[in-house]
Symmetry: C2
Subunit: 972 residues, 2 copies
Amino acid sequence: MFSKMATTVHTPFVLLLFQIGVFSLPVSQTPQESPTCGYKSCHAIKPGMLNVHLVPHTHDDVGWLKTVDQYFYGARNDIQHAGVQYILDSVVDQLLKNPDRRFIYVETAFFYRWWKRQSGDMQDTVKQLVDEGRLEFVNGGWCMSDEATTHYSAVVDQMTIGLRFLNDTFGPCGRPRVAWHIDPFGHAREHASVFAQMGYDGFFFGRLDYQDRSRRKASREQEMVWRASESLVPPVADLFTGILPNGYNPPEGFCWDQLCDDPPIRDDPDLEDYNVEDVVSKFLTVAQEQAKVYKTNHIIMTMGSDFQYENANLWYKNLDKLIRYVNQKQVNGSNIHVLYSTPSCYLQELHRANLSCPYFPMRIDDFFPYADAAHDFWTGYFTSRPALKRYERISNSYLQVICNQMEVLGGPTSRNGSFGVGNSDTMKKAMAVAQHHDAVSGTEKQHVADDYARRLANGWTQCQVLVSNTLAALSGSSAPRVYCEHLNISVCPLTESSTFDPEVMWVFRRLCSTSLQVVPVSQATVVVRRDRGYAVNELLFQVRAPPMGYSTYSVSLLQKGPPPASPFPRAPKDIQNKVRAWRFLKVTFDPETGLLSSLSNLETQQTVRLSQNFYWYNASDGNNKDSKQMSGAYIFRPNSSTTFIISKTAKIETVQNSVVQEVRQWFSPWVSQVVRLYADSRVLELEWTVGPVPIGDNMGKEVITRFDTSINSSGIFYTDSNGREVLQRRKDYRPTWTLTQTEPVAGNYYPINSRAYIKDEKDQLTVVTDRSQGGGSIQDGSLEIMLHRRLLHDDVRGVGEPLNEASDLYPEGLVVRGRLLLSLNPPAVAANTHRPLAQEVVLQPLITFTEGLLPPNTSLPLDFSGLQTALPPAVHLLTVSQWDPDLVLLRLEHQYEARDSKEHSQPVTVNLQVSPLPSTFILLTGLSPSYRCAVCLSGEKPLPKTKGDPSVWEVTLKPMEIRTFLLRVRLR
Amino acid sequence: MFSKMATTVHTPFVLLLFQIGVFSLPVSQTPQESPTCGYKSCHAIKPGMLNVHLVPHTHDDVGWLKTVDQYFYGARNDIQHAGVQYILDSVVDQLLKNPDRRFIYVETAFFYRWWKRQSGDMQDTVKQLVDEGRLEFVNGGWCMSDEATTHYSAVVDQMTIGLRFLNDTFGPCGRPRVAWHIDPFGHAREHASVFAQMGYDGFFFGRLDYQDRSRRKASREQEMVWRASESLVPPVADLFTGILPNGYNPPEGFCWDQLCDDPPIRDDPDLEDYNVEDVVSKFLTVAQEQAKVYKTNHIIMTMGSDFQYENANLWYKNLDKLIRYVNQKQVNGSNIHVLYSTPSCYLQELHRANLSCPYFPMRIDDFFPYADAAHDFWTGYFTSRPALKRYERISNSYLQVICNQMEVLGGPTSRNGSFGVGNSDTMKKAMAVAQHHDAVSGTEKQHVADDYARRLANGWTQCQVLVSNTLAALSGSSAPRVYCEHLNISVCPLTESSTFDPEVMWVFRRLCSTSLQVVPVSQATVVVRRDRGYAVNELLFQVRAPPMGYSTYSVSLLQKGPPPASPFPRAPKDIQNKVRAWRFLKVTFDPETGLLSSLSNLETQQTVRLSQNFYWYNASDGNNKDSKQMSGAYIFRPNSSTTFIISKTAKIETVQNSVVQEVRQWFSPWVSQVVRLYADSRVLELEWTVGPVPIGDNMGKEVITRFDTSINSSGIFYTDSNGREVLQRRKDYRPTWTLTQTEPVAGNYYPINSRAYIKDEKDQLTVVTDRSQGGGSIQDGSLEIMLHRRLLHDDVRGVGEPLNEASDLYPEGLVVRGRLLLSLNPPAVAANTHRPLAQEVVLQPLITFTEGLLPPNTSLPLDFSGLQTALPPAVHLLTVSQWDPDLVLLRLEHQYEARDSKEHSQPVTVNLQVSPLPSTFILLTGLSPSYRCAVCLSGEKPLPKTKGDPSVWEVTLKPMEIRTFLLRVRLR
């Protein structure tokens, strides 16, 4: 299926130098590293014995109960005792005391903060520790990302920032060889795929379903090979995956951190309570027990936990003793050998075992949902904090679409221009931090959620300066630019102002295809539904903007003063026109209830019965005989499977003009929806508004919308993984193990990052979401999506707060608005719609305004595109971003899965030479370019002599492939 | 009053080499130290500015909530997070990082444990830190002793062990220059006197009465000169004394330990919550406020607290920043200078200020009782855990009287002889640990109290081997020796045994005078009052033993089998013979009540009305409108001043023989007493038994006995200070400040270590106690002593347990037995009785047994004395102990105060040359010989040529003087 080359060669970029394919790096093919680090720095093992690899480590959340900076400095220790600056101080000190000691560090967001405050001497010392393999980085992203609620584009970015820092700072010895997701609450296949493509040799995690774990222990299948893509050619996405024995904690009784109370080793016989024999004997038992549930004669023990090693001496002093006294037993016949180790040294030994025998099973599904007990499904966080989840998603869009692009187009002027100093780093780092598994996941404390949002807002501010600088340079106009960041809730002070006069509107796009957008702006005023803003009307019209470019429109006011009432026809409450249809779609409403009743694709002439309404589950308050588990930020546990309907009927109002037909539905004072059908769109838009969720009845509520259709889905539905490949989900079933279902709703929920669908032979109804949400298909033909949660209890997983979002700004509770985009297609071609649609939602256009008319003699082009031609439909421009003053980072991907589409699931070739960028390029590659580039740049090659041959710059992408390049750019 | 020399020259010891007088060392006369340590290592100050001396320190209790070894290792961190091994590891590491940093360490019991586990390299490193004054020892005793409940002899010993270790290990630079009692709960004048005599340059503490503190702050009198003796010639016992500003904690908001939650200094402007300006500004305010309550332009801040600096990096990293940023303000006109400092560096600056102006006031009284609020008098611990207090006292006696003496007499054989390997070190260290301010004080948790007792018991075991070895060597008999440690509760398995046959009894004495003792031993059986033991009778007879020697008696059984009933006459219940009199005393009982009614001294023909009974205060449970304070281990707070009488009458029984007249009184099932009048004694003995204190009524009880007399005491009574000088106490009054009395009973309680008395012109009634107790004189002519406490609530000072002593061994509550010894004398001569009497009680004889008759041809002397002649009555042999294989430590003291006695309060001269010890001597001196010896030994002088002149060996002692010598001994 990969053999056929696309017929057209697209050439958006210029001057390919060379390019290395993305590949999964086998253990034995480690790239050259200094001889003292990496696998060569591992301690000797004893072949005939059970080798116990002790891995000293700390798990440092990039925000959770405290903000990332509070964690770094050790502020607010009244909330939680944790100070990462001290951890790194202490670990370095202790590593220096004994060359046998090892430590791994994971979260580069923290390491970076620490590093930049160190003296040159200290930096040299640390470099030496890294060069000698005594300090080893694992994972190495800016954070340890959440897997259920992140979008792959942001994950790739955050990994890039972290790995690049390590590469720039430490070179090859700083390169992480294993991915390490010890805490995320379930594991996405796309994450494993990305890690494999980044060249990680293995992946370790701590959490999986307790039933899955139990049978894996019994069958010694806790270590496996995860085939993480159904499209990429093996072994590209194959990744060794290991389940750690105690989550990520040490064995019980052997935690010697200051945060633990386990007895230290007391080896002075002159003092009371000498306990060496006791400790050694307990340890030998623990090791033997653990060896029973793993296959090789190597076992790993994670000696550390959350924010441990702040005083590393406690750990190392006792570990030194443990190793000494346990190994001393060998002279008496003990066959257990303990050593300081790292995950990669452990992995190396597994790899060696693997050479002689194909030990490890294969896994192809993912690790969702995660349950740690029968009624404890971690499926609530798929939806928790929906407003933060949306803000993270549009911030990503803003960074990708506008900020990165403007930085590349504007060059140095973008960062220091007529509007001052701006940057994209603030947003990049804010986004990277937001990927953390207690950030966008919604499982942090309220004040920390506020901090993530504040960081993103700071990113916007910095980006806006940068964008203004670039636009001023490109256009020659330095008129103040207004961004109207609150257009998502239809608030824009500029356009709402009564003094509003002619203005210029700019629409920016990033996607490498053109399409229609509807831009709500006010005339003199903007309509605001519900209680935000003061405007009463809105201006709707179609715009078209080129890929990686912008279009400019002028808006003039024809008549001052309040607009005439109801510029568009509004229907009375009882629905008059119950059928809405336009060129591509038809939608009908039940005149009795005001609810949707059917959806038709007019092109394919297919129709499904489709009703939709809003419901809530009563969140468990733990008062239940089966289990005391309460619903909370992590865990979704409805008190019963009963859904409570908000209203059987909707009050409706209709609006229609040349651009859009709207049906506005009111279900209750806190639930409403606008159903929109655009003239030229194949997608039905449902803009829902939920909140403040009432809790006066002392019942926590988990609000869903549910689509009930005539589709014969047979207990199966589909969800995407991190916005990319799609996995099949079957009710009350797990592909690789026999499930005992104990939670009929929560146990059937899965993360929806960008889309979900149900289908039968004929019809596929796809719902594209505007943020990550949880959802399920509890009945055949039905698809439900959780929109909002307001809970009254903590779920006892550490966050210590009920998920009850309210503040000074919204004292009665948070109102959330969002969009669901529905398409109905035959299954075989459905991807042709939902793939580009989902990218469209992820990478939204930006609209900005300047007041006053454009000067008639302006040299400003009204339209501009950074691409010479649009990329072919199968190719998505994943990343374009300034790498350093000379280099631009480019990532292209094939956005279709192999099985997606007869039309698009083909290899496609693009030529990088054809581009509007006025530059020459040097191209280097690797999905995460930091390490690849470190390798390549060290032997940087000259420009090819064969400049005239355009085929040098051709890049072929197979389905789901991601290719990374660094382009050297010079302004023409 | 010191001018007159005693007429007789006593010469117990041989061969004086030289001797240096004990003196208080002025700051300017520091003995030679290496040029880089001591006062020379202090950082420069800025003369024109307010200099803030930051003193990094940790306060490490030698047992409290955990045992000393649990604290050392950091075991049982579930009780309290504290691990001293890590503190020392960490502090040394951090000191090495910045030569400006300073640290002081206090408790040598911990330092010693740490030191002996360090490598040679580490020891060298630490030596260098000490040599450079970066690590400074303060106080330096084995522990920080309690001041209210310790006996000076044990305090001197524990200081000696600690200081000797420092001297042996570090030489002059290890010498502590300041005493540092930051935590003890009130301060004894005798402690200050001992410190002054040991050559400390100053003394700092943290706790004093809140009213005293308040007026001292207002008048800037928080620093003073304490004249700590009314007998020693100034400035021998003058000691600079400073009250620390925040107890021993840092100022509020500036605690950067891992145990604290104060915000760290966040000085990276790229991160959120940059707070340098805020911290600096707060610090400047704090410093200015503190400067207002001290006199000089130097202030001290104690930057540390309980078990802090386990991760010293947290402290130092922030202190480094604080110093940098605060001092940076000087360029903007700030006149505050912050520096790392130590108490001695601070003291040096005060001394310099003092040179120009006699700033500091004089203090002559002591700092008891301590109250930290109106109803929070720390006067309960004077009595808390009376059994532990007694065990500590008899252990001291055993160490001093037997163990030390036998070691000196036995030489190396004592430590390794026919009974195996024994030592005195175990007991010395156990005793040293027991002096800690949460040990003998009774303010530790129950399991820790058990640990102190266990340590003492181990000490006894080791000593018994040593004693057996020596006696076997001296006597040529290696018959097994039985010690009958439970004679205090009249239990001795050997003598109680029905197979008991002829045995030899040995009576050991230490006091340098002869006197009578009554030894209860069984015939075939031993009588046991109450419910312990099985014996029904006892054998009483007089023994006489020489000072520092022993006497041997044979006991033969004349008739086997149970003894005849009532070998002594017993009176019926209604008292027949209500007057008891012998040669020196007469005592009468009220026939109606069975209580004492009068006491007469037949020699002086004086009589007082004296009634005595037992009462209890109802311990406050905090349910009180004035304050929620409860009575607890520390705090005595009766619910009201009402005393509840246990019984208005006593059932009595009388016993009389040629040795003793006894009246046995039963007040209740849990209170009884035996009143004993010995034939040749000037002292009336009251042996009380209290317990188990009933708590079935849910009322905590504080049991007292009260003497009500006809003495016109005018609101005044007297108590000793640590068993030495006596202070006058006046009801509702403090000598140096105006008291607002808020607790009429608890606020008039004082520690009684060895004696208390009331008197008028004619009569002085003195009560000598057998352990430390609390007491007061609440009414004129009355003296009450608290005997036992059983409480139901914790008093919220950290111990976290009610003082409710019960265990598997005594499930119904602890029974305590003790003795009060009464004497009635004219005030002018009373000391002639109570001084030797109190020493007699402190240094009790030991009785041991061997079975079988002595062989007729034995060469064993039946009597033996280590002294050639008895010392003169004014001279007390405070210490005689093996120092090292060649040297014996000797301390002599004048045991009378200057005002005590016309007869004895005179200078007295002894000649050390006359001694029964078969040896030659080299004599070195200093109360705490470690440092003095370090100084002296470095210039050790040869034996004087004038051997023939005995006056070379004469030592003159003035009242209350203590002189220390090291004697070089060679067996003849």
